[in-house]
């Protein structure tokens, strides 16, 4: 039993674990849960985004978003903008960018989320068609679009509906980056985006 083979820690660990007896417990069925359902999930989603420090607005179409952004001061001040949404222009082409460090001064990013979660205001975004996932984190200002038909009640529905890109990256993003590490005072804008604007279509 308990032998330590320094050259093969994998075997050592697995042998140790196999030599132990741990009572068996069945894996529960998660589809049977009676999870919370909101009367108006879109409204709940909107409220949650505000609670976690973001802005959220319901809007009728992508062209309205484009029009809206035209008067955004953060957009007007931004020098380098990237948009993955058709109909909303940007001036950075990720195809020309070979090293993510070149995106250092990215100010403004527009992206569409695949799904929104009412219970916590989280939006699922992936790097499926994206060359540099760093755009989500390095930008100062982030705009995300979500279709109202893609808003679910809870994380259970969310995980059941999404398949992670394999290989690839996916993140549930809820609000702008934040910290309360100095005396529990909430400060928006830690290392990721300093502001988050969500549009529900």
């Amino acid at each position: 039993m308990n032998t330590t083979d320094n050259r093969n820690p994998r075997r050592t660990i697995l042998d140790r674990l196999r030599s132990q007896s741990v009572p068996h417990v069945a894996l529960p069925n998660l589809n049977a849960g009676a999870w919370i359902e909101y009367a108006d999930p879109v409204q709940q989603f909107t409220e949650m985004i505000k609670l976690v420090g973001g802005n959220c607005q319901c809007i009728d179409s992508v062209s309205s978003v484009a029009k809206h952004l035209g008067s955004f001061s953060q957009r007007l001040e931004a020098k380098r903008t990237y948009s993955a949404v058709e109909g909303i222009p940007g001036n950075v082409n990720l195809g020309d960018c070979h090293d993510p460090h070149e995106l250092e001064n990215l100010d403004f990013v527009v992206y569409e989320g695949a799904l929104g979660v009412a219970e916590n205001g989280a939006i699922w975004i992936t790097d499926r068609d994206l060359r540099h996932r760093v755009v989500f984190f390095i930008t100062q200002y982030l705009v995300l679009l979500v279709r109202r038909t893609n808003i679910v009640h809870t994380m259970h529905q969310a995980y059941a509906q999404i398949a992670p890109p394999r290989p690839g990256f996916g993140v549930f993003l809820s609000g702008p980056s934040k910290t309360a590490d100095i005396e529990q005072s909430l400060v928006i804008g830690a290392h990721g985006c300093r502001e988050l604007q969500v549009f529900v279509l």
């Binding site: 308990n2 330590t4 320094n6 820690p9 994998r10 050592t12 660990i13 697995l14 140790r16 674990l17 741990v22 009572p23 068996h24 417990v25 894996l27 529960p28 998660l30 849960g33 009676a34 919370i36 609670l51 976690v52 460090h101 250092e104 979660v117 916590n120 989280a122 540099h132 996932r133 760093v134 989500f136 984190f137 390095i138 809870t154 994380m155 259970h156 995980y159 992670p164 394999r166 290989p167 990256f169 993140v171 549930f172 993003l173 809820s174 980056s177 934040k178 910290t179 309360a180 590490d181 100095i182 005396e183 529990q184 005072s185 400060v187 804008g189 830690a190 290392h191 990721g192 985006c193």
Partner: protein, 475 residues
């Protein structure tokens, strides 16, 4: 520097005892104003957690499910680890195994050396703290920057974190300001948290951009998909691994969950329990490396299998490191995280630390009032206070409690087991409580009385009162 040895069974290490919890707590409580402030700050977090938990009608069901999933995963851990390894490898990651902290540190160092990485950014990882990775890498000339704001603050101050979720919860903004002024030349006397955070953001951005590797911890690893989940509010883990080509993720072997869908249960519980948020800002899922990059995953035992072998304590491995048991603990809140001299403090730390080294951490199971509040808030239902009580029994059996405690327990057994002795003792106590002067009861040797007053003793014993009543009823 690095006192990590192999352990084959629970708590078999024999390092010298650390300073006792009461001694270290004394240092913290000497500054009463700070101790009160600390207590209040954590209670505030506990209340936020309560509001969040109450807003979810199925909260208790979620806790049960989480506990079942973890118990299942723990029972089948070797199979799930192998499945995870297969799946992660298929996604292009490289999986390494480390039996202890030394092996873990060596693996990380070798990877950095191979890739000629001299500057590293690290996101919060209690595992790397536990293994003392930073001093190991620094001794080899590598610059490691902790990028979680709280962790960076304690790193600059040369202290360990005092809480697993809120590493700098014991530090005041004036002290942060001073530290930043010293290290990054912020304005002297500017205590504004927003100003200080902005300066840190600015400074650390350069560290992110200059880093040649990113090291992260792991919150969950999914066996069926080979994926990793990392939760942060600051976005530091994501930024740290999206710029350099090398990502090293370090995880304890107990972080495995079987299915993708299981994440839904844990993600709903984690941030609500930890900080009273509905979810962390970033809940990131990594399957394999970035195109052109490398992802290395280090699976670490370092005493975990020893905990698993112990029937009473194995459930402690269900822990998802939310910190709720600390925030609620009346002892932790008043004594501070450093009084535990262990990477993980509070109730869960007091269960896990003796399992790693019973001799060194023998006083921790007593840093507890047995109020049970930790057990009530734990999102994965670890019976924490039962385990702490069980540890006290173990300590007594192994003769690891101080003689004074052992003798008084022995006396207690003799007195409580003999009715004449018990009665005489009661009479003596009533007499003594009324008659003895304070200098005699509150002297230096009686540590119990240091922050307590003795009750006013009744004139009669309960037994005498009861006899009288009975007599009155009969008359």
């Amino acid at each position: 520097m690095n006192a990590i040895h192999n352990t084959n069974h629970t708590g078999s290490r024999n390092s010298p005892p650390a300073l006792d919890h009461p001694q270290l707590a004394n240092i913290f409580t000497a500054d009463q104003a700070r101790a009160h402030w600390h207590d209040g700050a954590l209670w505030f977090v506990r209340q936020k957690r309560d509001r969040m938990a109450k807003a979810i009608p199925e909260w208790e069901e979620l806790r049960s499910l989480a506990s079942q999933i973890k118990a299942h995963a723990l029972a089948n851990l070797p199979e799930y680890l192998e499945l995870f390894e297969r799946q992660a490898t298929e996604m292009g990651a490289v999986v390494h195994w480390a039996a202890d902290g030394q092996q873990h540190n060596q693996i990380v160092y070798d990877l950095l050396k191979e890739n000629r990485a001299q500057r590293v950014v690290k996101s919060k990882s209690m595992l790397t703290e536990e293994c003392h990775l930073n001093p190991f890498l620094e001794a080899h000339g590598i610059e490691v920057v902790d990028t979680d704001l709280g962790e960076w603050i304690v790193q600059l101050r040369g202290e360990p974190p005092s809480h697993i979720v809120l590493p700098a919860i014991h530090i005041k903004k004036e002290e942060v300001s001073e530290t930043f002024h010293q290290h990054i030349h912020t304005e002297e006397g500017n205590y504004d948290p927003t100003y200080l955070t902005r300066q840190a953001r600015h400074h650390l951005r350069q560290k992110f951009l200059g880093a040649q590797a990113g090291i992260t911890g792991v919150n969950f690893a999914v066996a069926e998909t080979g994926g990793l989940v990392i939760c942060t509010n600051e976005g530091n883990a994501d930024l740290g691994v999206s710029l350099p080509n090398l990502h090293i993720a370090c995880m304890g072997i107990e972080k495995i969950v079987p299915r993708w869908i299981d994440l839904s249960v844990f993600i709903r519980l984690l941030a609500r329990s930890a900080t009273g948020q509905p979810i962390t800002t970033y809940t990131s899922h990594f399957h394999g490396p970035r195109v052109g990059g490398q992802l290395h995953i280090v699976l670490v035992d370092n005493g975990r299998s020893a905990v698993r072998s112990h029937h009473t304590f194995q459930e402690a491995l269900h822990c998802i490191r939310c910190g709720a048991c600390m925030n609620t603990c009346p002892v932790y809140r008043r004594s501070g995280g450093h009084s535990y001299s262990n990477t993980v403090p509070g109730p869960i730390g007091s269960v896990l630390a003796p399992a790693m080294d019973a001799h060194k951490h023998h006083s921790l199971p007593y840093a507890c009032t047995l109020c049970g509040s930790c057990t009530d808030v734990c999102p994965v239902k670890i019976p924490l206070h039962h385990q702490l009580l069980a540890w006290r029994g173990e300590m007594a059996e192994r003769k690891l409690i101080p003689l004074s405690k052992r003798l008084s327990m022995k006396m207690g057994r003799i007195v409580l087991g003999n009715s004449l002795l018990f009665r005489t003792g009661g009479w003596l106590a009533r007499f003594g409580l009324r008659m003895l002067p304070k200098w005699l009861t509150h002297h230096r040797l009686n540590t119990w009385a240091r922050q307590r007053d003795l009750p006013i003793a009744p004139k009669q014993s309960f037994r005498a009162l009861f006899q009288q009543r009975k007599k009155r009823h009969q008359d």
